[in-house]
Symmetry: C2
Subunit: 275 residues, 2 copies
């Protein structure tokens, strides 16, 4: 018997992966959580039927959402990761030696537990002494911690279910306040080809809150269209103007200084509608 | 009724697109040809069940397979396109004012006819007076035209069916001979994530034939993994060393000089196995 998992990535586009076995399935307090062992992408974390990450392609996403903002900031010390319970983003943040404290504000403890058990290569950083795990609604957490962070990384689900409040102007305003002077935030902001209206909307909303907004892109094979956008809102530092000597010699699979610069050099098809 | 077209991109990975209607279906002399009207990607050309190109995402592929080699060459005049019967690559080649002649060597006239009828935005260049269309086996054509071309672009199907002979050392040797001194070739060479053994193999084979070989990458949303590789074999010109002043101000949707440089700056996950 061939068992296929299918995600409808948009109402008219689907991806299907051949599944060896279902390693875990539960209804957490917030969502349907599954860990699948797929032939193509290895272990796969699926929340509410949507692929969050896989062993084989997770590095694209976690490296790009982390190292672009952390290199943009001249000296990131306090970092907040919103969502990101799988631990992949925290793992990347910890590669920056200036970072003294990483707070992971994840609403669903079930994701963290599943990651620890089934994705040790992602969750490895969660036990680091610099990491504080807060099982909480990040919307409340951000509001209650003004002026505390150098970088906030919004590693959220899509704007449906528990993730919806993380795509609002009110939330971005609270993030602005949670940042120190010279701080910046980044969020995963969906597909520039298959969901461009949403990318546009997030960009406009962030521009109402932050003096500097930058979109950048990178591949994520298991996300719709395989090409993903990230949007950065900054109180000052510009990821386009990172001096050469600031780039760290990181152990990465995708991110490099060349990739950093290239990801921010937007092609015409994006520039024409980004405004 | 919802009608979905599904392509098994690998034995364990599939993409499905919701179909409004089948605009055309025929068994040509060489392959099963379909033109589908899809909701997500507009019109889609499907050969032997494999997505060749779509209205919405074709620009990624056609711009990248064309403008990287044509900028690498200091003065491309004679260009051969192998395969590419949809016309998209020829359309891009014609944007280079130094080009005086483009030969399209396509084995299957059915592809050209379908493109002319259903993909006018791709086929537009096929009527240009600089274009010669040869309905022929490109393997023979290349062998019979030594020393004739500045650039050869192998815009082939996958290495199955009619495309299989276009991935052999013998073919690359004939292309080498068909190139003038200082000429170069490029071929589409599959997914670096989902088919890396094939990418490696092509790279090694080209290195046995050409003194300089370069891999570059770019997104193609409807191809496996959404990230595609192209491999360039050169008798001399290096795409990494294109002087700034050579880049043309082209009307493109994806390709820019920044994209050119970025596509050639390979990330660690490719460098580690490319050798």
């Amino acid at each position: 018997m061939d068992l296929w998992f299918t995600e409808k990535q948009t109402p008219s586009l689907a991806i299907s992966c051949l599944v060896r076995s279902t390693l875990h399935r539960e209804r957490t307090k917030y969502q349907d959580l599954a860990v699948l062992d797929t032939v193509e992408y290895g272990r796969m974390l699926v929340l509410d039927g949507i692929i969050m990450t896989t062993e084989k392609d997770e590095f694209f996403y976690h490296e790009m959402i982390t190292h672009v903002p952390l290199h943009a900031h001249p000296r990131p010390e306090q970092v907040l990761v919103v969502g990101g319970g799988d631990g992949g983003t925290v793992r990347e943040v910890l590669k920056h030696p200036t970072v003294s404290r990483v707070v992971l504000a994840e609403i669903d403890e079930g994701v963290i537990n599943a990651a620890r058990k089934y994705f040790p290569s992602l969750a490895q950083g969660l036990s680091d002494p610099r990491v504080e795990i807060e099982i909480t609604d990040a919307i409340l957490y951000v509001r209650e911690h003004p002026g505390e962070f150098d970088v906030v990384i919004v590693d959220s689900t899509d704007p449906v279910g528990p993730g919806v409040g993380l795509f609002t102007k009110e939330f971005y305003q609270d993030v602005f306040k949670a940042l120190k002077d010279g701080g910046l935030m980044v969020a995963q902001t969906e597909s520039p080809l298959n969901n461009k209206e949403l990318v546009q909307k997030i960009n406009r909303t962030l521009q109402e809150v932050f003096p500097l907004v930058r979109l950048y892109m990178g591949p994520v094979p298991t996300y719709p269209g395989g090409l993903w956008s990230y949007t950065l809102g900054s109180k000052g530092p510009d990821p386009v103007a990172v001096p050469d000597e600031r780039f760290l010699a990181l152990e990465t699979k995708y991110y490099t200084p060349d990739v950093h610069r290239a990801a921010l050099a937007l092609p015409p098809f994006v520039r024409e509608w980004l405004g």
